[in-house]
């Protein structure tokens, strides 16, 4: 019953509970007493569970997706890094002032090939969350990311970034150390990196804080991840002065992977295991790895100039507007 903690998951939770109860030692002994083969008896229930899950998870609303993306058991950057890459050698520090643990990064191998990885990391338990500022990087985190990205460029290896943040930190220290400058610089410098850059939004793509490590040649999103200019709560507060209307705001913002793909802002949506990435991290990592390798192979033939020009064209194409001759 891991992860079935949202309203929309109630029917699933009930079915799962029923199946679990039937299959329990107690349930089995009861059934045995009545001469019933429990595994056969449970089969239709399991089929029903599967059907319900497909229905629920295939039709999540934008707000439900947001909840999935923020799920406490959702795999984080380091989970994927460990499952996908070999010999991860974590690097620390921005070489300026601090080691912001909301960002992790380092050297690694992907199928034997040297690569550099950077991820936003929320933290699993309370202590780790505090240490990582709940995944909200300050200026130092974005500068750490840039330093590590430049190492990748220096040694001509591809860069993979993993996006998962509610947004950049907006506290006093963040402002003092120029979090705006740090994000802005990353947007510019990442656009100029002379190496392949592949971005994956694995959970929450929260505003400028997400974008600060999300300029690349390819942007992928996991099926139930979200990417938004503002949090649904923030949007609701502005639109209706009511944070509780986050549901409606999420709809309005169209912050799902599916919609981002429709707008050509992301290149591919990676299907999650039924019920979400956290229900089968290994499978999710396999899907992700396959996609990363595939996109990297597509990019590997390109020269540096082609890459940088392509990345620019990609960004330049983003936007929907009308060009009317009359004014």
């Amino acid at each position: 019953m891991q992860g079935t903690n949202f309203d929309f998951e109630k029917p699933i939770a009930e079915l799962e509970a029923m199946i679990a109860s039937l299959k329990s030692v107690e349930g089995r002994s009861k059934a045995a007493a009545e001469g019933i083969d429990i595994d056969t008896a449970v089969e239709p229930l399991e089929l029903e569970l599967h059907r319900v899950m497909e229905k629920v998870y295939g039709n999540l609303s934008a707000w439900e997706k947001t909840q999935m993306a923020r799920h406490k058991d959702r795999p984080y950057s380091l989970d994927y890094i460990r499952l996908i890459f070999d010999d991860f050698f974590e690097l620390h520090g921005d070489r300026l002032a601090a080691n912001d643990e909301a960002i992790v990064g380092g050297l690694a191998k992907l199928n034997g090939q040297p690569v550099v990885v950077i991820g936003q990391q929320k933290g699993r338990d309370l202590k780790e969350r505090q240490r990582r500022n709940f995944g909200s990087a300050r200026a130092e985190g974005f500068r750490k990311a840039l330093r590590i990205a430049r190492l990748a460029e220096k040694f001509r290896v591809p860069l993979f970034t993993f996006v998962d943040t509610a947004g950049a930190a907006a506290d006093l220290r963040a402002e003092e150390h120029g979090v705006s400058e740090a994000i802005a610089r990353n947007l510019m410098e990442f656009s100029l990196l002379r190496i392949p850059v592949i971005v994956t939004v694995i959970g929450e793509g929260g505003s400028g804080g997400a974008l600060g490590v999300a300029v690349g040649d390819r942007v992928l999103m996991l099926e139930h991840s979200v990417y938004s200019v503002i949090s649904p709560e923030g949007c609701a507060a502005i639109l209706w002065r009511d944070k509780a209307m986050a549901n409606e705001a999420a709809d309005a913002l169209k912050l799902t992977a599916q919609y981002a793909h429709q707008l050509n802002l992301v290149d591919e949506i990676l299907p999650e295991p039924l019920g979400g990435a956290h229900r089968n991290v290994t499978d999710m990592a396999l899907t992700l790895k396959e996609a990363l390798v595939r996109h990297l192979n597509e990019l590997s033939g390109s020269g540096e100039t082609t890459l940088v020009d392509g990345r620019y064209s990609r960004l330049r194409s983003m936007g929907v507007f009308q060009e009317k001759v009359s004014r």
Partner: protein, 288 residues
């Protein structure tokens, strides 16, 4: 929320920017001094008593910045769509077009400033709070590309609450688009001058606005990442009095100089002359 017409109604956006106030006097929002509109306008909307720099709309800014008759607007035809069918966006756009002197939250074009040819972009806070949607991002990127093509320095006057929420992720991407354009400008060796004016926050500040070769700011302007309210939510942290102002940003190394409005022409002249001389020199080198 700068000035309200003295004899007129209080304007909805609070700014006197959309043309001449409909009274003969205005009240300074900072010191409450009653000022004759004529003096106030003559002083470029800087309070003659307390020096508070009231907001200018894009056309007022243009008028006091570029050489007479030198401005040629580009991309005026770009109009916002409503790709997300976002609640009330069309209405807001419609209203903005009727009340703002600009057709979008930024105007861009070529001009001469103190005799030097430039590409200039001026944000207009009276158009939906200067927010950056697809049109704003596109106009800025195109303006920068004109700068690259003509090898003119690019000057941006900023004034914006941030990204335009109503365009969802599309508006977020304008941060990346404009910043990447600044990157291209830089690799082409063309100067980028930013003048931060009140207010410049959120995604607008955290993108092209922070990337000037030289960054100037008007005194007392609100400049920051998140709103002050957000920052205030922290428990037990006392925010400095000048938090998220030009003065705070200067102190924290983010801007080069705070320049009073009346001194901006000289500052821009000095910079443009410097860059013009360095460009001449470069072409001489290139000719070797």
């Amino acid at each position: 929320m700068a000035v309200s017409g003295w004899f007129g109604r209080k304007r909805k956006d609070g700014s006197p920017a959309e043309g001449v106030p409909d009274g003969i006097a205005v009240k300074c929002s900072s010191c409450s001094q009653i000022l004759f509109v004529r003096d106030f306008e003559r002083n470029q909307k800087v309070c003659t008593k307390c020096g508070h720099h009231h907001r200018l709309n894009a056309h007022e800014r243009l008028e006091i910045t570029v050489d007479e008759d030198s401005f040629e607007e580009i991309d005026a035809v770009l109009q916002s769509a409503d790709p997300l069918l976002f609640p009330e966006y069309r209405e807001k756009l419609h209203k903005a077009k009727n009340t703002s002197t600009s057709s979008e939250a930024v105007i861009t074009g070529t001009a001469t400033v103190e005799g030097f040819p430039v590409v200039i972009g001026i944000a207009d806070f009276t158009f939906m709070g200067g927010s950056m949607g697809s049109v704003v991002g596109e106009k800025i990127a195109r303006a920068i590309e004109v700068g690259i093509e003509k090898r003119f320095p690019v000057i941006m006057f900023t004034a914006s609450g941030g990204a335009r929420m109503q365009e969802g992720l599309l508006s977020l991407m304008q941060m990346a688009k404009t910043s990447a354009a600044v990157g291209r400008l830089g690799t082409n060796g063309i100067p980028f001058i930013v003048v931060l004016t009140d207010p410049t926050t959120g995604g607008t500040y955290a993108s092209y606005s922070c990337l000037g070769d030289v960054i100037l700011a008007e005194p007392g302007a609100i400049i920051g990442f998140a709103g002050r309210r957000v920052g205030n939510q922290e428990v037990g942290v006392k925010l400095p009095d000048n938090f998220q102002t030009s003065e705070f940003q200067l102190e924290h190394g983010m801007i080069d100089r705070i320049v009073p409005r009346k001194d901006l022409p000289l500052a821009l002249k000095t910079l443009l002359e410097f860059f013009a001389l360095s460009a001449v020199k470069e072409s001489v080198i290139a000719g070797n």
